[in-house]
Symmetry: D2
Subunit: 358 residues, 4 copies
């Protein structure tokens, strides 16, 4: 039913926005990895609502508990269940939603698919589902030594940061609430979000991510290419509408002679390429160059403006977003992009081990 | 190892470019579907090399044989093995490739991953692998009654066709060798490809695809969203660098109030939306609006220009594309995009049946 | 890592014996099924320790909570997480176990596999893991209308009940603590267990199970035969050593002319067979005759007698079972056999729907 | 649809008895393993019909071709397709079968499941399907260095060989056509089969198998226990009705104090056990002791005696086995038991590699 991700390092998430709890079960995490609730909490805090003036005011502490799979601070190789209880629920906000379909939300399609939905806070289609992903991603990162995953907000609406010459640092990204590492651009973005919110509107944008330190050889040719699983991982995130790797759509406007990445030896005699239009993958397999990709996020569907819509009885009506919501999901989605990247890398790392001689 | 696609309607492809054969096995095709080799050959012919002046001169008839799973013209519900023998192989063209890594090809990464590769014609990384996909896609289409999948070349390098007001017809697409339904644009594209080829260069572009006639309710929330599996399917195709659905990357530059697709009733009282920025999916589930997406293809890596590269002994050398190859993969890739779309739809159609009451 | 069961109706169990909790997540349960915690508790109570004089004195109420996937008493089609907290844990009983390997327990093999284990109460290898299975089985039963699954203790050590002419009723089975429906035999069994326990020993036996009301057509030929998945399901239960269906091992001593089940029409003109040596399956597919199978359970490995063994430092030592344990697992295992049967049937039921025309 | 076996080392078989071909595709075989058609042919020849006076007279050479995945005598890590064409087909033998359901065959259940079947030679339910399994098993064996898999016929009807003190050698097993290594017993078995055949009857029996040389640590606790996957593998073979490991059903009649396998150190100071009632597995994980199991095969359903049955129009009729068939499948099934064992071991070997540090 689509709630399990990965072939070896598998993650199942569960939970509705206003149910008792959300969380995940990881099956396939190797044993003997040091893991504590604090390791997970760090990432959950970056995802958490109510962090700043530009995010939703829903205030959940999102404190996680590890229920299984860890003993004396180390993973056992058995399933790791991580739970976050739902606390700050205002179900009364959502009564109306049960009777109509909000524009660009999943209300209608859940009804069409299942014949039933939990209307409180979007139920399973709420972004609270991603708590389980972030928790699992934090576990994946613990097993991925020497691999650095860095995501940041590259553009919001028409505001874009200049192309960075190196991967931004974590501190540069975290210095502003919008998680764009170029401060002048970040300030414009924050102003833009505030203005949109004051007008009851919402904002989309692009998150860029780089995965560094990967060995050559990850990813499986044909259907399970590294970039194919990455694309699936990203398009499985709420509000995403596009994915591109390396030169992406811009690369379609280059000639082959310019697009090809020429192999050369670096100063240490190691193989590298002059350019990285490939974005770190060739034939679906990592080349050891940084994996470099972008994800497009649409503007939040919930807006504080009245919009026409249709009720479940197929009668015209109107709706206005009353719940607490983010005018722009991107700052919080940075942690989601990183988490899903970590899950993809962890799974491919374990899959690659299978073909090494014992 | 990544050669199986789908959860219920599963396809395994096999075969190297210059091995004895390529093909596929479909496990999960329902019984009682009319199927003949001719049904499959139609699509294989659209994928086939040597079709026109702008594609590779490798001349394979690519005649398929159904080895199993069909009896008296109907599927049995048992595995369907479809085989295409390799015939027009010029292995002598490829001897040099065994000793070096071509730029932007998978030679290096196959070596890194497997420690071995078949250098003849690219081996498993050759586009001949996609024969199995097209054959399986043809079978999937036979079970998908009332669903129309239409792909076409929307742009090549900087040449773009005007936005169509309706989905192009199959005849409009097939009228030119470049498979762009807007004839004046198609002519420019053909000229551009010819010019690039004469200069030993190659060309990239964008394929657009629309899936019409889907019921609401396909696709599984969370990890196996309709658009997530579609993105994976597309990024699993050789030479792809990006995917976007609905408003895609352009949608990130819109405000929510404009991006939201307002639900309305059409003249027959059926639910529809004013716009389709969503591209036919909400919360990972089809809404019954057309699924509308784009796929970015990079320029062909093989070019007839000398390029510097590095040998397997890490010594600098040069390489020039001598094999027969396409200066632009997009015209032939139209059938691949359609085939992978059909596989995604077939699989989700069968998955959705599981939750209907018997 | 082996903690997920099923292809469509999938169950993941998690939890160690003395960790915070045990439970399961079900992904793939259809929507709109009525489900409450009470539905699940009934089966958990049959599995629960401390029920009677012949089971372990560990006293857990094993009260379950549904954390997700149910809204207003109906399943949503989203993952159902069911949790049981661990309460009556005597960890001090188990300190010694960390340093040695108990005979016929999984201590040694967990160490060999994972390099780490939770020694408290057997950790993940404890029978407490089966709580998640029973909970999931209870959910599966709710979706299986008209299907009756009945398991009972057929033999204990050398004590066997006479062959029943009809399937025993639930009341007949539950009337004695040993869950053998033939009361005189049950009394002998109880005496035998008590005697074994008083001598610090343990007892094995055979559970028989019948699944009635199945339609013809469930089960997938070749690898996923109905009986193959059933055998896997049963051999995945702790302490099991054998599985047979229909005539089983005894059938190997019959000639074909006697073993074949002759098709006839019953008084209503419906197809049936004179005998059921097949045990309800032909070619891996259910025939609509009762599925009839047996499962062999070894005597409990934990005994209250001193046994020689070897420490983790490879030094000879001795061990004596001090924890609370069952002298015979079969009475409680009846609910496990039923639960695993329900999971197999639920999964095949949903798989079969995929090949029906929508 | 159940034609794929394994999680990492996956095998898909395809083909009907009287279709164009049967075969398999292996996805997940590691690269760099030496493999030739001759390696596979050896095992196919042991499975082949027409080998001896006690098997079917259908005379197929069953010559295999490797179509993909091997280059210069070594596996590539890409899918290996192995094909065997069907040649000696007497379809006219089978016309009648299309209109009725043979006792204890899969005709009825295939009709019930699929609504269609290929009646020629049993179609997909024919034992010819197992050619793909034996071919895949031969490949698995090539990657399993140091592991010995030995199966033999232990009993036929009431004729049992004495318990061997050591594992029989391959030569001892192959010295008689019945593949029982105890020659006096073998001779009785051959006589018994001949007599049964002369009377138009058929014979069942038990195959025993030992897997030696396994490291400790294979198999995944909970659902994918080593013995659970083995049981599934064996019960997926045609004509099987039971599986037991180690002490099996006989072990249920022992007390725990006698059943427990006491850990001791052998003369070299290595850990072993005094007895092996466990059959080489503890908690679902291999202990490094030999895996020792039995499989029950029913007497062949096809017999040369007239039997009453029912037509597809639900009218009483009779049927007599006219096709060429084995009066006893066990001698040929020895190779099937070994092949499926090899697939289980190969898959678990690769799965175990995932949790080792790279």
């Amino acid at each position: 039913m689509g709630n399990i991700f990965g072939k070896i390092f598998t993650v199942t998430t569960f939970g509705e926005s206003h149910g008792k709890a959300v969380g995940c079960v990881i099956d396939g995490c190797p044993p003997m990895i040091e893991l504590s609730e604090a390791d997970i909490q760090v990432d959950l805090n970056r995802r958490r609502p109510g962090q700043s003036e530009i995010s939703t005011q829903r205030n959940e502490s999102d404190t996680c508990k590890i229920l299984s799979g860890v003993y004396e601070g180390k993973t056992l190789g058995t399933p790791i269940c991580i739970l976050v209880e739902n606390k700050d629920q205002h179900s009364f906000d959502y009564d109306e939603i049960a009777t109509l379909w909000r524009p660009s939300h999943a209300d209608f399609t859940y009804d069409a698919k299942f014949g039933i939905r939990d209307p409180r806070g979007g139920g399973r289609s709420s972004a609270r589902e991603t708590i389980g992903r972030v928790a699992a991603g934090a576990v994946a990162k613990k097993m991925l030594k020497g691999i650095k995953i860095t995501a940041w907000v590259e553009s919001l609406n028409l505001i874009s940061m200049p192309a960075p010459t190196t991967t931004p640092t974590h501190d540069e990204i975290e210095q502003t609430s919008v998680r764009c590492p170029h401060k002048p651009t970040a300030e414009k973005m924050i102003e833009f979000i505030k203005k949109a919110r004051s007008e009851g509107d919402s904002v989309g944008g692009v998150i860029r991510c780089r995965i560094e330190g990967l060995p050559a050889g990850l990813g499986n040719p044909v259907f399970d290419r590294f970039e194919a699983e990455l694309a699936k991982a990203m398009l499985s995130l709420p509000a995403t509408k596009g994915f591109e790797i390396g030169s992406g759509f811009a690369g379609t406007r280059m000639l082959g002679s310019r697009h090809n990445d020429i192999f050369v030896l670096d100063e240490n005699g190691n193989l590298t390429t002059k350019t990285n239009n490939a974005g770190g993958v060739l034939g679906g397999i990592t080349s050891s160059r940084p994996v470099d990709f972008r994800v497009a996020f649409k503007p939040t569907a919930t807006i504080a403006k009245e919009q026409p819509t249709v009720s479940k009885k197929l009668e015209p009506t109107t709706v206005i977003g009353k719940g607490r919501h983010d005018p722009c999901v991107l700052p919080r989605a940075v942690s989601l992009v990183e988490a899903m990247s970590a899950l993809v890398v962890a799974d491919f790392t374990m899959r690659q081990r299978t073909i090494k001689e014992v």
